[in-house]
């Protein structure tokens, strides 16, 4: 089955669960990102490409999701409550799902700080399991 760009954008939107149509394209997410200087595609693009039926391939091929710290400063400072971090996570998840196996071991979770955001823990596992 061939999935076109529009459907893949919709899939990513659903996976991310953040309302990208709220975005006013101010760029505070990219400006705030502590690892933006390491990223090939800046966080604002992840919102933008999903917003206007843009090119999802750019996002899927980007290295940025693997640089992303899941620190949520993009989501925290967004004036509209959009979470680019969630889209980063969705992209990571897309890759992991395509790979077919997820090596996440729940037993390992015990050693983690319970104050850490849930998504950050999960994201860390995904990144290390790639």
């Amino acid at each position: 089955m061939v999935i076109n760009n529009k459907e893949r954008a919709e899939m990513l939107r659903q996976l991310a669960g953040t309302n990208v149509s709220l975005c006013i394209q101010c760029g505070r997410c990219s400006a705030n990102c502590p690892v933006a200087w390491k990223m090939d595609v800046l966080p604002h693009r992840f919102v933008y490409e999903l917003l206007n039926g843009g090119n999802v391939d750019v996002l899927l091929e980007a290295k940025s999701p693997w640089k992303c710290l899941s620190c949520f400063s993009c989501a925290e400072r967004c004036p509209k409550g959009v979470s680019p971090a969630a889209i980063m996570e969705a992209v990571r998840l897309t890759h992991i799902r395509a790979q077919g196996n997820n090596k996440l071991n729940p037993a390992d979770l015990e050693n983690y700080d319970d104050k850490m955001p849930q998504q950050a823990i999960v994201a860390a596992f995904r990144k290390f399991n790639k």
Binding site: L22, A31, N32, A36, R45, R77, P79
Partner: protein
Amino acid sequence: MQKIGVFVCWCGSNIAGTVDVAAVVEAVKKIPDVAYAVDYKYMCSEEGQKIIKDAVEEYGLDRIVVCSCSPRMHEATFRKCAESIGINPYMVEIANIREQCSWVLKDVKVATEKAIQLAKAAIAKVRFNNPLHPGQSQVVKRALVIGGGIAGIQTALDIADAGYKVDILEKEPTIGGKMAQIDKTFPTLDCSACILTPKMVDAACHENITIHTYSDLEAVSGYVGNFDVTIRKKARSVKADICSGCGICTEKCPARKTPSEFDEGLRNRGAIYIPFAQAIPKVPVIDREACLKFKTGKCGVCSIVCPNGAIDYTQEDELITEKYGAIVLATGFELIDLENYGNLGYGRSKNVITSMQLERLTNAAGPTEGHLVCPASGKEPKSVVIVSCVGSRDTSGRGKTYCSKVCCMYNAKHAMYIREKYPNVDVTVFYIDVRTPGKGFDEFQRRAVEEYGVHYVRGQVGKIMSDKEGNLTVFASDLNSGRHLMLNPDLVVLACAVKPAKDARKLASMLTASIDTNDFYVEAHPKLRPVESPTAGIFLSGMCQGPKDIPETVSQAGAAAAKVIGLLAKDKLMTNPCTAKCNEQICSGCLTCTNVCPYGAISGVEKEVVTLNGTREKRVVAVVNEALCQGCGACTVACPSASMDLQGFTNKQILAEVDALC
């Protein structure tokens, strides 16, 4: 037998698009006493009103129901129309089938059904309508303007020029407001003080204007044409009539630890101070919280140096009561607090300033006499970053959801005059959108780029860090190139969102003026009555109604003044005839109603009444003063014998509506 005419409006496609108006007409025709029913494209138009008039004549209608938009919109229109053909205006009822029906429903069948029911309810109510006749009340030919900024001054001047007395109430020690703080104004770049101070002087010298500075609104009662207002004139601790305004006291005052409000904290002022040189009145005021005399009892330098003996430490607040016919709210704006924007470093680094602080820094009368310097080092900056939309267009709860409207223009202005005075200083403006609608506005902003070489970067600043030496690092994004930027400017200017003045909400409660969720005053109609509050006799001028620049503020001030003049020019006002009325036959004289009436409109009067069984007896009954009654209806519910009823909203009328809807 009653003859009811029902007129169903299409409102173009606004109603007819969702409601089958012909079906509504057919349905209401079947109701007894409906003598005539018709639909028309625009009932409120002259042609539509003619249809009503012709129908009244042809069918001898005595009651009219119009199924149309909200009564808040056109009830007055249709009442006037009825009056012009000899039907009492209060024999008209409106069924709101636009706002409550066609605009909130999508399904034609459902909407039509609801429209029919709403029409039925209105018909049920109109059966019990009685002709009502408005009384008259006097108009006090004096207006009160709350706020002495450019909006208030302009409104007061316009009213005063028309020959009416006006009082300006200002909470600060001087009039002038925010415009007095500003250096230059866009798009002409002329000096703000040069155009404002003559107006301040005009207001002060005008024979019809009285200025109460350093004063608060203490209490308000009454209604349109007859407001009773109490003003608290706070103690200045200086006798205004003796003081010559020489200012020696302000120079000699030893308590100099209070940041000057007028200079946005960029320098300190004394405990006794005049906000700025052109202040009106030029009379100092003692800030009792900072004054050593008031705090410790040991000082009194000002009273020693005063050549006129004008200092009076024992002065007390004074209460003034005055009657006004109209009140104008011109309470203006302030900048938002930046406590939620810690990432931008405001408060941590002195070199991160607000736009208003920049105005003071570049102002020739400011703390640096107009030399642009970094507040931390006192040195001239080499590069400046201006950040737009700080706290504007922010729905995350940290800032304000609206666009502050003026920032794009003043950012261009700031960038331009920095580049003009200091051509070697690099200026970068970070923006989301540049919004510059207005006469000559876009051209102005383009000049900043084309002629002055200001860098406009589409993107935003994420965080601003300051190291031990006070050097700033700005992390930003450049969206057009997709680059992440790191800049090291010497000065950062934050274009903060504007918000209504702090006391806006308190004043709204005192005046029962409506206010929106952002604390801006609500206008009676967003398009057609933009300078009036929904509360009769209260008018709006300037920023307190929504973000505005100076030209808009001045034109709105003029519009508000015209409305006030229109009101004051009347000798008498028609009062709302929908007042409470007591059925003296069954009133037991318990006077429970007098306790709940917020206007003191009901009193117990001993008089001879005819009882239900026809005998005459002398006893106490409740009597409503129609001039005072505003028609809230609190008494009707409190009355244990149900003798109190509200005309226009009688028990019978409301119950008829309930019955028709259930």
